[in-house]
């Protein structure tokens, strides 16, 4: 008897407990979405999964080779950092629905703009660096202006600049230096404390020394850490990514980038200054390319006519792997950074394995194809009406 009583009480209690939940009016047309689906809608997902995959792959095939030792890490992180800087710019521009194929050539051109004036015209280095940034950004603005003015595909306009700038780089370096390499600029960097502090070498030496002192990182026989400091290119990469990511996600300009890329006509109709947004993003990609060029010249100590060759494609691949749609309107800076990281890991990592490094491009092409297919699937789901 008491057993029955008890079970009846629990039943009643259960019903009571349930009642308030049912009282909440719900829209019968709204369905629950699993957290997994919500995650699938994030643009970064593919690149994060890809990064995990690539790390797992090299963990298995190159785990014992020193690739994941500190000097190995710095090695591939630096490659990722250089690419990451231009990928950040390319990412914002691609979300706004345009391409910049002149980025790679701009890297080379910025290099000679930095190297030639101090070596052959007697300019101080700081003036040459300023000149390179101003010149690159002006060229970026010209690119952007031609694209928005003519309404031609940016693919064609920037393709033209890809050749023009590459050719000019060669003309200038052979004209002044009588060689495709303008060398000797490294010393000028060392002489200029401000420019050197901004672009040359490594930083956070105290941290690495301290870590070495605590035996947390590997040391040379002399007691110095194997890696003296963090390459400045990584600081620049992180800074650029943080600023760009913040602007894209949180600010009004970021919303304009999405709107312009999603539907330029709609953007115009709601009062977004489409032309200004696009031109300023072309200026940004030119700035990123110039930054790449200056950092590289400071690092290598010379400028050369073939610097940055095909970097525009690598940047676009990194951005696409990062989940940004080729058609614009959707993407993320974090994704592009992971895309660049995958690049660095694959490019450097493959030489740590037994795999012939000729396979590098095959691997990369495969990743690109996978990423595009994955993104296409995401887009068709997101754009589908219910």
């Amino acid at each position: 008897m008491s057993v029955i009583n008890e079970s009846v009480t629990t039943m009643i209690q259960a019903k009571r407990a349930k009642a308030p939940e049912e009282a909440v009016p719900t829209d019968e047309r709204v369905r629950k979405i699993s957290p997994w689906r919500v995650l699938l809608d994030r643009p970064e997902l593919g690149s994060i999964a890809g990064t995990v995959l690539v790390f797992a792959f090299f963990g298995i095939f190159a785990g014992g080779s020193g690739m994941f030792a500190l000097d190995g890490v710095i090695n591939w992180a630096q490659v990722a950092g250089y690419l990451g800087i231009i990928a950040v710019g390319a990412c914002l521009l691609m979300i706004a629905g345009e391409f910049d194929l002149s980025m790679g050539s701009m890297i080379g051109f910025a290099g000679v703009m930095v190297a030639i004036p101090p070596m052959y015209l007697g300019w101080p280095l700081w003036a040459a660096v300023l000149f390179a940034f101003a010149g690159s950004m002006a060229l970026g603005a010209l690119n952007g202006y031609l694209v928005v003015r003519t309404k031609l595909p940016s693919f064609i306009v920037t393709l033209a600049f890809m050749f023009i700038l590459r050719g000019l780089t060669l003309v200038l370096s052979t004209g002044f230096a009588n060689s495709t390499i303008v060398s000797g600029i490294g010393d000028k960097f060392s002489e200029d404390p401000v420019i050197s502090a901004l672009f040359q070498g490594t930083t956070l030496h105290w941290l690495f020394n301290a870590l070495a002192g605590m035996n947390l990182i590997e040391k040379l026989p002399s007691g110095d850490p194997v890696v003296g400091g963090l390459p400045k290119v990584l600081i620049w990469w992180l800074a650029m990514a943080a600023v760009a990511g913040f602007v894209l996600a949180r600010t009004r300009f970021g919303n304009w980038i999405y709107t312009v890329g999603g539907d330029a006509n709609a953007a115009k109709n709601v009062g977004v200054p489409v032309r200004r947004v696009k031109i300023s993003l072309f200026v940004l990609t030119a700035f990123c390319a110039c930054l790449f060029g200056v950092l590289q010249v400071a690092d290598v100590g010379s400028a050369a006519a073939d610097r940055g060759l095909q970097k525009e494609f690598e940047a676009i691949i990194a951005v696409v792997i990062g989940g940004t749609l080729l058609t614009g309107g959707f993407g993320s800076v974090i994704g592009a950074c992971f895309g660049a990281l995958i690049f660095g890991v694959v490019q450097i990592g493959i030489s740590y394995t037994n795999i012939d490094s000729d396979w590098y491009r095959v691997f990369l092409g495969g990743m690109l194809l996978l990423a595009v297919l994955f993104n296409h699937y995401i887009r068709s789901r997101a754009a589908a009406t219910k």
Binding site: V30, R250, G262
Partner: protein, 262 residues
């Protein structure tokens, strides 16, 4: 009294090279009325609304807003005067969230950490959800992409957005063209709500069955010319149908088909 009219096109013509898109069109929109612009394809409806919206400037003739002659050089200027146009493409980006679309171009901002201006997403989400609820559309989550909404909901979103940003005149370009019966009804209700709030509406359509119940007056366009403006009391649905280009053609077709069937 010119001031009775919130918008007035007086003998306006618009030429594109040798093409006469509009010829001597006069259109007057009273405050708080729903004015229906009817015409078949190619009648000049698009040119007319683009002129009103500030995309085109009239080649000849005057355009007056609240009795004052204006010459808009961009849609932005028309928007600043409270003339909002909802085009057929709705100016919505499917991959962006409801709130981001709602505030696109006019994002609410706050200072992040007291310095950096960022979008106030909490306010944007809340306001977008609230304004849509007023229009009878309940979105649980304003951060869902617009791509997940139906055609009718998108139309209502675009209209709600225009009203929220202080539209005094709403120009709706074929708002019911791509919609089903029920969704069309929702949009017509929405137009009724807008009128109840004192907003004047220009409603472009070629569907008389949608236009007749809601409209206060009609202007018919045919081949770039106005065939006149009529108050609802003065004209029946059948007369409107007859006057529209294609009305007689349809009648002929009906006769023909019935004749053959008999």
């Amino acid at each position: 009294m010119a001031d009775d009219y919130i918008l007035e096109l007086d003998n306006v013509s618009k030429y594109f090279g040798t093409v006469i898109a509009l010829q001597g069109v006069t259109l007057r929109l009273k405050r708080g009325e729903v004015h229906c612009l009817l015409g078949d394809n190619g009648a000049g409806k698009s040119t007319l609304i683009k002129t009103l919206a500030g995309v085109h400037t009239p080649s000849t003739g005057a355009y007056r807003v609240e009795g004052e002659e204006v010459r808009f050089s961009s849609p932005r200027e028309a928007l600043d005067r409270g003339i909002a146009t909802v085009y057929q493409d709705l100016a919505l980006v499917p991959l962006m969230s409801v709130a981001r679309n709602f505030f696109a171009g006019r994002e609410p901002r706050r200072k992040w950490l007291g310095v950096l201006p960022v979008i106030d997403m909490a306010y944007a989400n809340e306001t977008a959800r609230e304004k849509l609820a007023e229009m009878g559309i309940h979105v649980r989550d304003a951060s869902q992409p617009v791509g997940t909404m139906s055609g009718g909901e998108r139309q209502c979103l675009a209209i709600a957005r225009a009203i929220h940003f202080g539209a005094k005149v709403l120009i709706l370009d074929e708002p019911t063209a791509a919609l089903g019966v029920k969704q069309s009804c929702n949009v017509l209700k929405l137009i009724h709500n807008a009128r109840a709030r004192g907003i004047s509406v220009i409603f472009i359509t070629h569907n008389v069955h949608h236009a007749y119940p809601i409209a206060d007056s009609f202007t018919l366009l045919n081949r770039g010319q106005s065939m006149g403006t009529f108050a609802k009391n003065d004209i029946s649905k059948e007369e409107v149908l007859d006057m529209m280009a294609g009305g007689t053609e349809i009648q002929q077709l009906v006769d023909q088909l019935e004749g053959r069937a008999a």
